[in-house]
Amino acid sequence: MLSYRLAHASLKSHRLRTVLTSLGVMIGVFIISLILIVSRGLHQSITDQVSALSDNIVVVRGSSNDASGLEAFSPLTAAPISSLTDRDVVSISGLKEVEAVAPMMFLGGQIKGSEGDYQHVTTVATSDNFPNIFDLKLASGNWFEADETAKQWVILGDKLARGLLGTTDASGQIIEVKGQNFTVIGVLKRVDRPISLAGVDIDKAAFISLKNGLMFSGGVNQIGQIAVRAKSADNLPALEKSILSVLDKNHLDHNEYSVRAGRDAVGALSSWLNTITTAALIFAGVSLVVGGIGIMNIMLVSVTERIREIGIRKAVGATRRHILSQFLIEALLITLYGGVTGLALAYGTAYLITLQFSLPLVYDWWIFAVGLGVPLSVGLLFGLWPAARAARQDPIVALKHLA
């Protein structure tokens, strides 16, 4: 306590120097904490989003199963060449664990409306039970029924409808999809989940029947993926197994497809996030080391500058340990000041970021532990040598040192 008082007094008498020295640590802690807070927030929001919908949904993906991480859920990697066929859809819908199945064919292309014209819109050609599988609600109009697939009807995502027609109450309006006139029969409610198991940003997509899709593809059955809803979330692993065994019967090449459930998506996304977070943390760590070297430098200067003081303290009874702890506490205080301000700034900034991107603001205890523990270790590590140098001073030599 006393050493704290002495150290604090001495830091106060060099206010500017203390502030500048702790600045390096502050920046390091700021970056580290900010990365941790935001990445935790992202992680949590992704987990929430994906698992909200997909507890009992499995997606069967044709073609590349070597895709991992985020790409595995991107329509870009799903669309182009797929080996899934109608036969697979029929086989899977025959499984006892299955409640509903929807084939998904991905088409890109231009869509024109009265208010807008978009070059590359993800258009999903699918079946009547697609909205049931992904729990999609309509803001206006209807989804097509099983016997209405021959009609040139389209259902729009919320954002797409607003962009094309300026309204979500668009039933009956005519738009141009890949050069063909389609009647809008419904607009989906806003989903606000850019990342979903469906592999598309539903708010920005258009949906037509599979029959219409086949018209665009020239009859080539290019089912990119099959969305499967299980009867219950409990037998999801069993369902995955059954699907695989059915597909294994239908296909010669067993590398042509893959099966993914919601939790795989979370795992893939978080591993991707972890990679980015780790990289960022390494950079922040480097900045902390630089800050630590700054502290060491200042502490060494301060030891040299205060040799007489050390001599006086020793003359009135200070042992090496007293001097060591005084200088060490000074170093720790500098880093602690930096750590606290860095952490506070990080939360301030994180608050603004999460507000902007509607992420949750995470208050994990371990973020505080890291935010304060890391600078303290830096202080300990880089303050130790100067402190030891201070403690080693011979009392009379130190006393006679010219101040």
Binding site: A9, S10, A315, G317, A318, T319, H322
Partner: protein, 300 residues
């Protein structure tokens, strides 16, 4: 006779010598034939500075025994090694050769931590150049030795405040050293040296910057501590102050030139005989004043 033949004091006229045994018979109530162990004992102590051609011998074979409770004044020309001697006695410096026994323990064998603790608890050092810490205020400077004591430290600042009052500095507690006059600085340095109730006080010209009134405050405080049984070594150039001492050591070129016990006025007068006439007159005036005060004190 307890002085050894090597003792420089032995060479002095018998009239100036006083048997230490007698002197101590009163002070130390030990069995009479048991010789008291000296609190400080230096044996042919040498201190050299520098290397090769520039070697300088600041202390040149000092033999010195100081008993507990003595008040020793150390005199001598500038550069004769007085401060060097005090530094060694206060465990700040190590002798280059010779031995130093503190309370009959060889100092050479003590660990650095042990020495630090002795400095903090047993020794009060009043430095010639004060050595206050410029970034700490007066109160913190004075309390500093207490902070390195073991045990609970609640009332450090209270204690410091109290001792500052003795030296008439109560309204300078929150000043920084550079805001003090020379005399005030000196008194702060003295307050710091005395706060631990040290049993050995090493005072390097403690009144060098003080007027006679403040000198008296200091000297009265040292006298009080002396009466309480503490050992005091005081470097001074002021012969007026010799009247407070029980013994005077004269140094010259790193050696003890003369070592004189002072127990009565005769001895005192004999000592001052080698001091210049002008100084002598001044010292008489000072001493008379002091004697008068003493008598007044006795009357009360």
């Amino acid at each position: 006779m307890t002085t050894t033949p090597q003792d420089p004091a032995f060479a002095l006229p018998k009239a100036l010598l006083k048997d230490r045994q007698v002197f101590f018979a009163g002070a130390a109530t030990r069995t009479i034939d048991e010789e008291p162990t000296p609190t400080i004992s230096l044996r042919s102590t040498v201190k050299t500075f520098g290397f090769g051609d520039t070697v300088f011998q600041a202390l040149d074979g000092i033999d010195l025994e100081i008993q507990r409770g003595e008040f020793v004044a150390i005199m001598g020309p500038s550069g004769c090694g007085k401060t060097t001697l005090l530094n060694i006695l206060g465990l700040l410096d190590k002798p280059s050769a010779g031995e130093y026994f503190l309370n009959s323990k060889s100092v050479a064998k003590l660990s650095a931590a042990r020495k630090a603790r002795i400095r903090g608890r047993e020794v009060g050092f009043i430095f010639q150049n004060f050595n206050l810490i410029p970034t700490l205020n007066v109160l913190d400077n004075v309390a500093l030795p207490l902070t390195y004591q073991r045990g609970l430290k609640f009332n450090n600042l209270e204690k410091a405040s109290k001792i500052l009052k003795t030296f008439d500095l109560q309204n300078r507690e929150y000043y920084l050293p550079n805001q003090l006059s020379g005399g005030q600085t000196q008194r702060v340095a003295i307050a710091r040296a005395l706060i631990n109730n040290p049993s050995i006080i090493l005072a390097d010209e403690p009144t060098g910057n003080l007027d006679s009134k403040n000198s008296e405050i200091i000297m009265d405080e040292l006298t009080r501590l002396h009466r309480a049984g503490n050992t005091i070594l005081m470097v001074t150039h002021n012969p007026d102050l010799l009247s407070y001492a029980s013994r005077v050591i004269h140094m010259k070129d790193g050696q003890i030139d003369r070592d004189i016990e002072l127990t009565d006025t005769a001895a005192y007068k004999a000592t001052t005989s080698f001091i210049s006439q002008r100084k002598k007159q001044r010292s008489r005036r000072f001493r008379n004043g002091r004697l008068r005060r003493q008598k007044e004190g006795e009357k009360k």
